[in-house]
């Protein structure tokens, strides 16, 4: 593709030069405009990092007594970072098996005529605004989950995750994680679907010709072929779940503690939810501290996404 683009570029330039300086002038303006757009985007991204650092600086350098809760910045951000990673990990652990199944269903099992429609439904999950997920989580899923939480406490209470006491409102880490699961499912399954449907025909038909059933064919050709992409899709989903704000803000009842207990009333907050909750009412150094926590979130998601991209790039999809 690139090579082809190059040849046409050259042809265009040669012809443009041949057809007079005035036209070449128009060309120059247009190409500068398009370069300017590209540079603007790079500047925008550099600006995101730069301005966040500038506004976070006062909190980073400030005396710890002046910060909210009178703690050092690290101590302020660490529990939030823990909650962020916990919620996102929970979502990814739940979403990946489901997303792989959805992807296999759409790419290899569903009737061909339905593929477009089913894909559209899964994409619709991604189109729903996060604030709507939040309302759905707290008014519908949360109350519906209460009996399940109680059951988990009674039957599986010996596992630290389900130590309880079970929340009576459903505003727990588990419910928030479930909502995040639904929100990242379309991303993970889209990546998986894309690669599963690219599994070489000869492998699939070879497996079938050797007497494999459809499931054996999927397990022996499609899944190994798509494994690394599923991992990178999971990382992309993780990045999304780490930064997701509104659903967690609305659903989780937070108390700033550090705990692995997923079903109780008191939960660790997440960086993003903490910003959304505190920012509108904050002023002075507290705002800088929140921006510093946002910078930490930016760094965490950046690393996650870079790993995902590196996996995709190494594999060279296609």
């Amino acid at each position: 593709m690139e090579a082809r683009a190059d040849t046409t570029t050259n042809a265009g330039q040669v012809l443009a030069m041949a057809s007079g300086a005035r036209r070449a002038g128009g060309d120059r303006v247009f190409s500068y405009l398009s370069i300017a757009a590209g540079v603007t985007i790079l500047a925008l991204l550099a600006g995101v990092a730069l301005f966040l650092i500038v506004e976070a600086m006062p909190a980073i350098t400030a005396d710890s007594a002046k910060l909210p809760e009178g703690k050092g910045l690290i101590e302020y951000v660490a529990p939030l970072a823990f909650g962020t990673v916990l919620a996102a990990t929970l979502a990814v652990v739940l979403a990946v098996p489901l997303a792989v199944a959805v992807a296999i269903f759409i790419s290899h099992i569903a009737p061909r005529r339905l593929v477009l429609v089913l894909g559209f439904f899964v994409d619709m999950l991604a189109a729903v605004p996060s604030v709507v997920y939040g309302l759905w989580g707290i008014f519908v899923l949360g109350p519906a989950a209460v009996p399940v939480l109680e059951w988990l406490e009674q039957k599986l209470g010996f596992i630290p995750f389900f130590a309880g006491p079970a929340s009576v409102t459903g505003r727990t880490m588990l419910v928030a994680g479930l909502v995040l699961t639904v929100m990242i499912l379309p991303i993970v399954s889209a990546v998986a679907r894309e690669v599963f449907s690219q599994t070489p025909r000869r492998l699939q038909e070879g497996a079938l010709a050797l007497g494999a059933t459809r499931w054996e064919m999927i397990r022996m050709t499609v899944v190994p072929f798509g494994r690394s992409s599923v991992i990178s899709g999971a990382m992309l989903g993780l990045g999304r779940a780490l930064g997701e704000t509104m659903a967690v803000t609305i659903i989780l009842s937070v108390s700033g503690i550090v705990t692995f207990n997923l079903i109780s009333q008191s939960n660790p907050s997440t960086i993003a939810a903490n910003i959304a909750l505190e920012f509108p009412e904050s002023s002075g150094i507290a705002v800088n501290a929140l921006i510093a926590s946002g910078l930490a979130l930016f760094a965490i998601t950046l690393v996650t996404n870079l790993i995902a991209r590196a996996i995709i790039a190494r594999r060279g999809v296609g």
Binding site: A5, D6, T9, L15, A16, A18, S19, R23, D27, V29, S34, A37, G38, V39, T40, I41, L42, L44, V48, F51, L52, V54, E55, P97, L98, A101, V102, I109, F121, M124, L125, A127, V128, P129, S130, V131, V132, Y133, L135, W136, F139, V140, L141, G211, T213, W215, E216, R219, G243, T245, M246, I250, A272, I275, A276, F279, V287, T301, L302, N305
Partner: protein, 354 residues
């Protein structure tokens, strides 16, 4: 077949001899399991939709395996079990969507009346509407689109028509990075940018637009690049052969050919950002009156409105919640309409490329 195998050849493996379940077996198993689970659960007095689904799914997975294994052998039985499990997982993934659409519609419709669409809030006293939020959504999203669309499409033109070398590679890479920026971080960026120049605590509509642009630009670039790529080179070469300069080729040949795809991409990008809450919460603030000037004062929008009606309800909580759901429904309708319209535009206006 079977007769010959029995006389002249070693025994054929069971799965090739092929006992088989009838074609209707999967449907029969599902229907049977549903009926059985309903009976058992109602006898136990704990019949609920969720529980019924779970039990019926497990029962039918067990049943199809138990039926298939003696008839078709372990290989095929496992195949059927796997198929059942995967279909069940897909169903499970759709349940939240169905539940969400149903709940938003049934809870949102009562609040979605004329007053909601045209009125503004009456302070903490009840009643009022979301006209200010609807106006704000249109202004903020519109300005965001005005910023993102030219930049995004020009950058895509650069990548596809001019780009080669370091800048193009860097741009491709960083656009990928940009798609991963959490929306709240985009909001903080816009706040930090304006706070440095205009002082802390600033809230403006245009700040929200800048934040949304950070999220929208990469989406526009990706989709525009995608449609520019499929414009065939022979169209460009034909234009060059007629002596058309490159920029005119792009403006008169490439862009018109890709036009439907570009419009579709922009509409989908707008649909993606119109429901954003977090970045606007920290940039545009909350306000109770109509504000049409993005450069002056706070501005409300639908997503933040839905959130604040939930977070800080008025005296009559349920009415506030009704309005939150009505705002949620309005948002979903807008998003769906944009998505469907985008597809229709693409179907109706795309240039057939032979």
């Amino acid at each position: 077949m079977e007769a010959r195998a029995a006389t002249s050849m070693p025994p054929v493996p069971r799965q090739l001899r092929g006992g088989a379940l009838p074609d209707w077996a999967p449907y029969g198993v599902v229907a049977g399991s549903l009926a059985l689970s309903t009976l058992v659960l109602s006898a136990a007095g704990s019949l609920g939709v969720a529980l019924l689904m779970v039990v019926a799914t497990i029962v039918s997975c067990v049943a199809i395996y138990a039926w298939s294994r003696p008839v078709e052998g372990p290989k095929r039985a496992l195949d059927r079990l796997a198929t059942f499990t995967i279909v069940a997982a897909f169903g499970l993934a759709l349940i939240p969507l169905i539940s969400l659409l149903y709940q938003v519609t049934s809870r949102g419709l009562p609040g979605l009346d004329w007053e909601f669409l045209t009125g503004t809030p009456h302070g903490i006293i009840n009643g009022g509407g979301a006209a200010h939020a609807i106006v704000g959504t249109i202004v903020i999203t519109g300005v965001a689109a005005l910023i993102s669309v030219p930049i995004g499409i020009m950058a895509a033109i650069y990548l596809n028509e001019y780009g080669a070398g370091r800048l193009a590679r860097a741009l491709t890479f960083f656009v990928d990075v940009m798609t991963g920026i959490p929306s709240i971080v985009a909001g903080l960026f816009a706040y930090a940018l304006f706070a440095i120049f205009l002082g802390p605590g600033i809230r403006l509509g245009v700040m929200g637009s800048v934040a949304l642009s950070v999220l929208m630009v990469p989406i526009v670039i990706r989709s525009a690049e995608e449609v520019l790529k499929v414009v065939p080179d022979h169209l460009r070469e034909a234009a060059y052969a007629l002596g058309t300069p490159k920029w005119k080729t792009i403006v008169k040949v490439v862009l018109p050919t890709a036009f439907a795809g570009l419009v579709t991409g922009v509409m989908i990008a707008i649909a993606r950002i119109v429901g954003e809450t977090a970045p606007l919460l920290v940039t545009t603030g909350v306000v109770d009156s109509i504000n049409t000037n993005p450069f002056q004062g706070r501005m409300q929008n639908l997503a933040v409105y839905a959130y604040s009606e939930y977070r800080t309800p008025g005296i009559h909580k349920t009415d506030s919640y009704d309005r939150a759901w009505a705002a949620a429904l309005t948002l979903i309708v807008i998003v769906m309409l944009l998505n469907v319209a985008a597809r229709l535009v693409y179907r109706r206006y795309r240039t057939e490329i032979r």
